[in-house]
Point group: C2
Chain length 108, copies 2
DNA sequence: GACTTTCATCGAAAAAAAACGATAAAGACC
DNA sequence: GGTCTTTATCGTTTTTTTTCGATGAAAGTC
């Protein structure tokens, strides 16, 4: 019945899942790498680099914004995005905690 | 039109996205943590712990298997799962590379 | 003011994900 | 052999994701 029961899980698990979901598409990985590559925070040049329509890229940017992994500012007719290092740090910490917990010896 | 163009991206980006997707649900995070907690690799005890039907848990386990993040063996009527540390290491390395690339100063 | 550029958003369509109950298969137990 | 337990899989429904074209809004250019 397609009901989503995500609320029934711990907040930390939900947060980590939410962030992981933001990375769960190669286009979004590629966008983040591209933003990192250019010092100047690029806007629609991303559209040129990716094999996707402008509206699709805009949609991916919106999702990254919602996950707080990027920040965006408007400059004239252009939009300027860049990585939110602060959020990346939190993400990395969550992941580090997760990897620490899961680092137990195999048993089968 | 709902066509998925994931193939158009680099293999590394696809791999990372695939692994991130495996973590993109709190139930799967919870399963991995639970597997790590118990030395003995638990099977259906996971069903007891999670607020989900048995068939749903089985489905999540299948996805984790497909992502190679867990391993499974059959023991009588029971199925025994545990974390695939090798795959976790690869995952961690991919992530480390990604975080290294994206660690550039904010610019907006 | 008219036109162009840049981007976000809307609407639609197709695909994938999430959930469950029901059923099936495979051992264990008597 | 018959029954119970355990888990995987099938079928279905609902929700979410992915994608695009079309439209709109906002700012720059002539």
């Amino acid at each position: 019945m397609g009901v989503h029961k995500k609320e029934a899980f711990g907040q930390e698990d939900q947060d980590l899942a939410e962030l992981a979901k933001a990375l769960a598409h190669p286009a979004r990985i590629a966008i983040l790498k591209e933003l990192a590559k250019r010092q100047t925070c690029i806007c629609g040049e991303i559209v040129e680099v990716l094999p996707l329509a402008q509206s699709t890229v805009s949609q991916h940017l919106k999702e990254l914004l919602q996950a707080r992994l990027i920040k965006g500012t408007v400059e004239g007719t252009k939009s300027c995005y860049c990585i939110n290092q602060e959020a990346f740090q939190s993400f990395k910490q969550l992941l580090d905690g997760f990897f620490a917990v899961t680092a137990q010896p195999d048993c089968c």
